[in-house]
């Protein structure tokens, strides 16, 4: 496992107020790393220090082994996609022009850029013939942020930074875009640092999650490790608060995270196992369990793990007291 990004004793103060005292973190190459925390926890500041939108007060950050302050700023940023919460497409440029911003600066041939634009638009389900020449204000919020993501990845950067990119979107668009991020991440095999305040989003997207509070990383671990072994009450509560208000609305994937999946595929006929998406709720799971012995929890087309009735019941009795 090679290291993509490394924070070494990073400090940050604003006007003498220390917001990040001493941050140490390693993000592996090809990892989708989620920084999660409440507002004011320093997660966005940490993200912006990676592409030097915020200067460091102390310590250093290495990207692909190089101290970011020794790399020419523009080269550093050209190889680092950036997606903003406010989307911030350039309003006077068409969709195509927005996507072409970085490739154009890098001097990529026009033909190649145009081909890339068409590929990318098709990939996110927007017909190039229709969308190429649209202006940003002619798009819905979800469509805009798709373009925002394409703009960030158009020149295939090794790293992509995403700052709460979906927090302003409606729940359906948010889910679609989360799926899109997973798909693009798999396809381009880039390193993504994703900032959010939404624990569910973190659990869904993150290979690993870093939970921040008051400028400190409380726990850095895989989603299931955080769900099963929170280091302290804050992490437990933060995780707990992310569950749905009603039992029926809990995601079935969460049961797997918290309770752990069965150690191996049950040795029964395939007809006894019902496949169900990890984002489906317990309501759907109960219906399935009424007729099937086992559930196969899937994400995209991959099976994450298997659950039986007993596991679901244990989850309900221990973690959902209401």
């Amino acid at each position: 496992m090679t290291t993509a990004i490394e924070f070494q004793h990073v400090q940050k103060s604003f006007n003498g107020n220390e917001v990040i005292p001493d941050l140490n973190l390693t993000v592996a190459k090809g990892e989708l790393f989620v920084l999660v925390g409440t507002s004011g926890s320093g997660k966005t500041t940490s993200l912006k220090m990676i592409n030097r939108l915020e200067p460091l007060t102390g310590g250093k950050i290495l990207v692909n082994g190089q101290d970011t302050t020794t790399v020419p700023l523009r080269e550093l940023r050209w190889d680092m996609g950036y997606v903003l919460q406010q989307i911030a497409l350039f309003p006077t440029m068409t969709v195509a022009q927005n996507i072409a911003v970085i490739p154009e600066m890098k001097g990529t041939p026009k033909k190649e850029i145009n081909a890339t634009i068409d590929d990318l638009l098709t990939e996110v389900g927007l017909d190039p013939a229709v969308y190429r020449d649209r202006m940003p204000d002619e798009l819905s919020g979800g469509e805009q942020q798709r373009i925002g993501i394409l703009r960030a990845i158009a020149s295939q950067p090794t790293t992509v930074l995403m700052d709460e990119p979906f927090s302003a979107l409606d729940p359906i668009s948010r889910q679609q875009l989360q799926d899109l991020v997973l798909k693009l991440h798999q396809r381009y095999d880039n390193t993504i640092v994703f900032v959010t305040h939404d624990m569910n989003e973190a659990l869904k997207l993150g290979d690993r999650i870093g939970i921040m509070r008051h400028g400190e990383l409380l726990q850095v671990d895989t989603p299931s490790a955080i769900a099963q072994h929170p280091v302290n009450d804050f992490v437990r509560d933060f995780f707990g608060a992310s569950r749905a208000k009603k039992i029926y609305d809990v995601y079935v994937g969460r049961v797997g995270l918290v309770q752990g999946y069965l150690p191996k595929k049950p040795a029964v006929a395939d007809g006894e196992i019902q496949a169900i998406d990890s984002q489906a709720t317990l309501r759907t799971a109960f219906e399935a369990l009424a007729t099937h012995q086992y559930l196969a929890i899937t994400e995209e087309t991959q099976v994450k793990g298997y659950l039986d009735r007993q596991t679901v019941m244990t989850y309900l009795s221990t973690h959902e007291p209401d």
């Binding site: 050209w78 950036y82 350039f90 309003p91 600066m105």
Partner: protein
């Protein structure tokens, strides 16, 4: 309406020239203001405190009354196009600076952050992101500036830069509504057209916009180059005050000088301004010659008191002497006519009562029904002094200048004040009574120039002296009548007179 159309047709040549001048001055001012204000605003965006100061400064500049600003500029840069353009630039700075500054400053921070995060250079960010976003606001500022400039540029006529303002000044001066309307409407139309054109630039395809812009610049540059080319030969500039009379005179000057010396080209600047303004222009070598009145020299241009009741010759000699000693200028010999205050009666009334002089009025005092301008009634060198000097006991009704001629022609009054060369005297068949006690100061016209100029151009002096002692009051009335009422061109009227009196060979 009909007179308006008629005036328009007669003056369309002049109008085109004035329009061209107006456009030239306005566009020059606009381009200069843009070149100053836009980069300054871009520079100031990163320095908010300084920008605040600059905004204040441009606002203050805008509150200076335009006339005062022009006045302030004359001692610094003289008269003509340069001070006009400077003044207009000063007015145009605020809207352009303010809109550019606010347009960029109000861009959403997240957009700026995105541009930075994608590694745009300062310049790329400016041209690709900031300026395009701020463009509608910048264009709006430029359009405000255009409307402001074109309106204010009408004042350029006051300092000899020409333009549509000449029509307006002339209209006011001659009480000619048609001229005034033509000037005002043209200026308003020009503002609307330019403003629309600029809006079109904003939406037009870049290539087409560039072509149109190129053509306009080429036309203006061509005009400028042509005027430089045209000025290659020895050029003498002769200016005149507002009105038909000076315009006729300077046309005579031009024809006489050019007939006398084929190497000299004379440029005329008719309706150039008022007395002190022309005098200052002459002093600062902006013009070479202009016709001045002996009386005006003593009253306003030179210092020192003088006795009343000077004869015409005494007035001229004193004016000439004082101009020479105080300003190193030469006042050539005056023409015959005396353009001063006068009392006039109808020719019929004059004949009936055997009137020749003002003194003769004493005999008909009881039947006099005078109607005079308020100003004349109130002046010491008007009716007040006149009554004392001639022992007259009359009371005048005050009337509007134009109305008193109407009134006398209808017999409601029988004595009016007048300027001795007014074309209305001819128009309404009036006759002037001789000022036998020399009460009114003498105002005889004569060419005024610097001594150094006179020394260098003896041929010009000789040509101009041909007019000495020529042109009577009735001649002048007749010629003013032809220009003002019959709408003949001043050049034609001047030419006719010169040929008729053998001062110029006819034919051309």
């Amino acid at each position: 309406m009909q007179t308006l159309i008629q005036t328009f047709i007669e003056r369309r040549g002049d109008l085109l020239t004035a329009l061209w001048q107006h456009l030239g001055i306005s566009l020059a001012a606009l381009v200069i203001a843009m070149v100053i204000a836009i980069p300054l605003a871009i520079w100031a965006v990163r320095r908010p405190k300084l920008a605040e100061g600059l905004l204040q400064l441009t606002s203050v500049l805008q509150t200076i009354p335009s006339l005062a600003l022009l006045g302030l500029l004359i001692p610094l840069v003289g008269i003509g196009t340069v001070p006009a353009v400077i003044a207009l630039v000063i007015y145009a700075l605020l809207p352009i600076f303010q809109n550019t500054y606010l347009g960029i400053d109000e861009i959403d921070d997240s957009i700026e952050e995105a541009a930075d995060a994608f590694g745009m250079s300062r310049m790329r960010k400016l041209f690709k992101v900031e300026l395009p976003i701020a463009m509608p606001q910048i264009i709006a500022g430029i359009r405000t500036a255009v409307v402001l400039i074109i309106g204010t540029a009408t004042l350029a006529a006051l300092i000899g830069a020409g333009g549509l303002g000449t029509f307006i000044m002339l209209g006011i001066d001659r009480n000619n509504t048609s001229l005034l309307l033509i000037g005002a409407i043209s200026s308003a139309l020009l503002a609307i057209v330019l403003s629309a054109l600029i809006r079109w630039f904003q939406t037009a395809k870049p290539k087409r916009a560039l072509t149109v812009f190129g053509v306009i610049v080429a036309l203006l540059a061509g005009g400028g180059a042509y005027s430089v080319y045209a000025n290659r030969t020895e050029t003498i500039t002769i200016a005149g005050k507002l009105g038909s009379e000076p315009e006729i005179l300077i046309n005579m000057y031009k024809q006489l000088i050019e007939a006398n010396d084929s190497h000299v080209k004379v440029t005329l600047k008719p309706n150039f301004g008022k007395t002190t303004f022309l005098f200052s222009a002459l002093k600062h070598d902006q013009i070479d010659i202009y016709p001045e009145f002996t009386g005006s020299v003593l009253e306003t241009l030179v210092s020192g008191s003088h006795a009343k009741n000077l004869t015409a010759n005494q007035t001229y000699q004193l004016a000439k002497k004082r101009l020479a000693s105080q300003d190193e200028m030469t006042l050539l010999k005056p023409m015959a006519y005396n353009n001063t205050y006068a009392l006039a009666v109808t020719k019929k009334f004059k004949r009936q009562h055997h009137l020749k002089t003002i003194s003769d009025l004493n005999q008909v005092e009881s039947i006099l029904k005078p109607g005079m301008t308020l100003e004349f009634i109130d002046r010491d060198d008007g009716l007040k002094g006149l009554k004392k000097a001639y022992g007259l006991d009359i009371t005048a009704k005050s009337m509007e200048p134009a109305l008193r001629y109407e009134a006398i022609s209808k017999g409601r009054i029988n004595l009016v004040d007048a300027y001795s060369t007014d074309s209305e005297l001819r128009q309404y068949n009036l006759a002037i009574l001789k000022d036998d006690k020399h009460f009114f100061p003498t105002y005889q016209g004569a060419p005024l120039m610097k001594q150094s100029f006179a020394k260098k151009h003896p041929k010009v002096v000789k040509a101009l002296n041909k007019l000495a002692g020529r042109i009577s009051e009735t001649d002048m009335q007749e010629m003013n009548y032809e220009v003002n009422v019959k709408n003949e061109s001043a050049a034609t009227v001047a030419h006719h007179y010169l040929v008729k009196h053998g001062l110029l060979k006819g034919g051309n």
